[in-house]
């Protein structure tokens, strides 16, 4: 049954991952370098992410019930496991800080300008702490409901914005050439798709590991589609301005005006964004605590949660001086910085496992067992 006594249903896991991906699509304009061709970047990025995901899903399938760190331990010894644990703890911690920072900037800009950022952070993280404390199964169930909200809001927004769609905004396809598009694609592969490597810690707890392959790919595809739709919708409504805005979706919402009274519905976007950010933060926190529980072994990861939350709030304030820095970091530095975590380590693990034929499970039967 794995290290944890909890089991996550497959749909719950899928919902968690999907909200994780969708939660980012509201923050930074994705692939903004590509302008209105960002949708091509997204498509390419989605395909690219399949390759990335294949690595860690395969690894988890070869060792059912074991998280990525456990597998490192099996293959390389327990000190390597601790080092890897430390690395991934840092990575998820950093991601958690980034998410919190961007989130707090957004709420502060748009909803509560005068409220001190500290208050917003504390309130947000206390809910995140509660959920992480309650366990991954609870989080999966919450994600299902959150997913429902995100989908409903997406559908409603499409309907409300549809009268402002202007297809000529998309028109000169590839007028800037492939260069910016490929740049955008690499950005997307690492943020947000590549971050799903964190789910390699959670993957062992799902009920039907043999179906993990199909599940993860299905979710990546859905996530990519959702981001695509959101991006296209924003471009159709706003035109070129879409890629220049910092909070694109929010601005697009501001533009809704139907029947002269259905206007100014953008605070609803805030509600959805809060829920998406919550799930993403919670996953980061959970993974970080689990990784730390490997480094400094304790029976349970729960004692780590509160200190991590406090640290996250504190560090999120001084790690980036301004909002611009955090956005820049996320777009330009992050892809290279996360390369070892997202790709190299899982790849190394996979190669060693395959070459030395370790691994308890036979390769999955064509039907997924």
């Amino acid at each position: 049954m794995g290290n944890t006594t909890e089991q996550v249903s497959n749909t719950g896991f899928g919902a968690m991952m999907l909200v994780f991906l969708a939660g980012s699509s509201m923050t930074i304009p994705l692939a903004s370098v590509a302008g209105h061709d960002a949708w091509i970047s997204i498509l390419i990025g989605t395909v690219g992410s399949f390759a990335l995901a294949y690595v860690y899903v395969r690894v988890c399938q070869l060792f059912p019930g074991k998280s990525l760190l456990d597998i490192v331990g099996v293959l390389f010894g327990s000190w390597a496991k601790r080092v890897a644990g430390l690395l991934y703890a840092w990575y998820s911690f950093h991601l958690g800080i980034l998410v919190l920072r961007i989130f707090v900037d957004f709420i502060s800009t748009v909803a509560l300008p005068k409220t001190p950022n500290l208050v917003i952070s504390i309130v947000m993280m206390s809910v995140v702490l509660w959920a992480a404390h309650a366990g991954i199964e609870v989080l999966a169930r919450c994600s299902l409901v959150v997913l429902f909200f995100i989908l409903a809001e997406g559908a409603v927004s499409m309907i409300l914005m549809s009268k402002d769609f202007d297809f000529s905004h998309m028109m000169p396809i590839l007028d800037r050439g492939w260069g910016p598009v490929m740049e955008g694609a690499t950005q997307i592969v690492s943020f947000p798709f590549g971050e799903t490597v964190l789910f390699a810690m959670i993957l062992p707890s799902i009920r039907k590991i043999s179906r993990a392959n199909k599940l993860v790919f299905a979710i990546l595809l859905c996530g990519g589609l959702m981001m695509l739709v959101v991006n296209v919708r924003n471009s159709l409504v706003l035109g070129e301005t879409a890629s220049k805005m910092i909070f694109t979706t929010y601005t697009a919402y501001q533009y809704i005006s139907n029947a002269d009274f259905l206007e100014r519905v953008e605070p609803l976007a805030i509600v959805t964004w809060v829920m998406g950010g919550f799930v993403k933060s919670c996953v980061c926190l959970y993974v970080c605590a689990q990784a730390l529980a490997v480094v400094l072994p304790v029976k349970h990861y729960r004692p780590y949660l509160l200190p991590l939350v406090i640290l996250t709030i504190e560090v999120s304030f001084f790690i980036y001086k301004t909002g611009t820095e955090s956005v820049q970091f996320a777009l330009w530095v992050w892809p290279w910085y996360s390369l070892p975590f997202q790709l190299l380590i899982p790849l190394a693990v996979l190669l060693i496992a395959v070459i030395f034929k370790k691994g308890t499970a036979a390769p999955a039967a064509p039907n997924g067992g």
């Binding site: 309130v123 409901v145 100014r264």
Partner: protein, 487 residues
């Protein structure tokens, strides 16, 4: 011989000293033997007793015995009793004790007639269409109300007694093979663990057996309608009946039970579905409306259409309180009104409603203490909380709206989203006898969804929902959808 009888009688009198509801009667049988009869007159059928005593008294007949012809046996099933405790508890439960001359003690158990009311429609759960029987306080009658609807030997009713002084009888009711064995076992063990001095109402039991005490949400359903219980039993639930209480507990329970009421199932499914949506919508309104109003008018006035904003601003010009305080004030007043309304005798009821409407509503608005939009919001919230069929759930939601108002008033829509998330986390972690509280929405079970947001027609509900026995899921075989020319 006489000495033993006398000794018995004296010790009985000593134990029942100062219990003047117990009568000691001294009779002479025809054979001139002394017989003491002890009973509590309010709990027996007096006519029948007199008849019994006449039969008891003829000479030469052995009163206690298995003699088929014994007249007393026919009338009253007299059985010998050896310990005084048993005698006393028998007397105090409505049986008649007979102290015979030869020192034997016996109890006649067929004369019990406890005071009871008639079977009537439960006042707290009225419906438009459907049976109008309701449970009363006698366990036997209640059990028969269920048994007559499910005359199958698979319907099991296990009894046990709880309570040091009350010795209340409980019955665990379930359909074998339909209810999940794990749930039944859990119910048995939890009930067996209860150690209390007395049970007055099924509510005591509920507090002992629920999974999580510190939550506003109930995890045990409560009803007074036998038809509801029958339907629940068929769904695989387990019912717990308590003697002395008309409320029957049903486990397990999910959040969605709050929006179900019996009559959803008796009317056509269009009606049931529509009513369910209304209830879900108003359940959400009851929880979030005042908070949202405060949040939007204070933190996000850009969300309000311009014309409405102008009139809201006009309405609020003279009000001294901030919106948050106003909301709390009005909500508290409304709760007080509601509580007062429950306890009013009918004659005064109309006066209070007039007072409530006029004073609270109109005069306060005119005096500039509260604003008219706030009165509207509070009224809608009140109405919304009345649409929730299950009273215990409605209570939970009413309590929760105050923290929501606080959150909305301090952090705007962000606060409300946080509140919603907190609620979601709490609900996701609640379980009721092994079933997740949010099932079948979250853990997703598509076949179970047929009863949550829509009320699928009876011919479409092919499977039983989750808490039932996994092997006995199919309930309605397919192919029964009505269509023209179906032969």
């Amino acid at each position: 011989m006489t000495g033993m009888q006398e000794a018995n009688r004296l010790s009985l009198e000593k134990e029942l000293a100062n219990c003047s509801d117990v009568l000691f009667r001294r009779l002479h049988s025809a054979g001139d033997s002394l017989v003491w009869v002890v009973y509590s007159p309010g709990m027996i059928d007096k006519e029948l007793l007199e008849k019994c005593l006449l039969l008891l008294l003829p000479a030469g007949r052995e009163p206690i015995g298995e003699d088929e012809d014994s007249p007393v046996q026919a009338a009253g099933r007299m059985a010998e009793v050896r310990s005084q405790d048993e005698l006393v508890s028998g007397i105090l439960s409505g049986k008649v004790a007979v102290l015979l001359e030869d020192g034997r003690q016996a109890l006649i158990s067929g004369l019990v007639k406890l005071p009871a009311r008639n079977i009537q429609e439960p006042e707290a759960e009225p419906i438009v269409r459907g049976p109008r029987e309701g449970f009363i306080e006698q366990l036997d009658t209640n059990m028969s109300l269920i048994r007559k609807r499910l005359p199958t030997s698979r319907l099991k009713m296990e009894t046990l007694a709880i309570g040091l002084y009350t010795k209340t009888k409980l019955a665990i009711v379930y359909i074998e093979g339909v209810a999940a064995e794990g749930v039944v076992q859990e119910v048995r063990s939890r009930l067996a663990d209860i150690d209390i001095d007395g049970i007055v109402d099924s509510g005591y039991i509920e507090e002992f057996i629920e999974d999580v005490p510190f939550t506003p949400f109930p995890q045990v359903q409560h009803t007074e309608r036998p038809d509801f219980v029958t339907a629940a039993l068929l769904d695989g639930n387990v019912a717990i009946m308590t003697d002395g209480s008309p409320g029957v507990l049903i486990v397990p329970m999910t959040l969605w039970s709050a929006v179900q009421s019996g009559e959803d199932y008796y009317d056509r499914f269009f009606h049931g579905t529509f009513v369910r949506w209304i209830r879900l919508l108003f359940m959400a309104l009851a929880l979030f409306l005042p908070a949202t109003y405060v949040a939007i008018s204070t933190y996000h006035p850009e969300m309000i259409p311009t014309n409405l904003l102008v009139s809201l601003a006009g309405a609020r010009e003279a009000i001294p309180f901030p919106a948050l305080v106003e909301a709390l004030l009005m909500e508290l007043t409304f709760e007080a009104l509601r509580e007062a309304g429950i306890r009013l005798p009918k004659q005064v009821g109309s006066a209070v409603s007039i007072v409530g409407a006029l004073v609270i509503g109109q005069a306060a608005v005119d005096a500039g203490i509260v604003s008219a939009p706030m009165v509207i919001v509070v009224s809608i919230t009140g109405i919304a909380s009345f649409t929730i069929p299950r009273f215990n759930m409605a209570l939970g939601i009413r309590v929760l709206r105050f923290p929501m108002i606080l959150l909305g008033g301090t952090l705007g829509l962000f606060g409300i989203s946080i509140g919603f998330l907190g609620l979601l986390i709490h609900l996701s972690s609640l379980r009721s006898f092994g079933t997740a509280y949010l099932a079948p929405v979250s853990p997703l079970s598509l076949s179970g969804l047929k009863d949550v947001f829509i009320r699928a027609p009876h011919w479409a509900k092919s499977k039983r929902p989750a808490p039932s026995n996994r092997r006995n899921r199919i309930r309605v075989p397919g192919g029964q959808k009505p269509s023209p020319n179906r032969s």
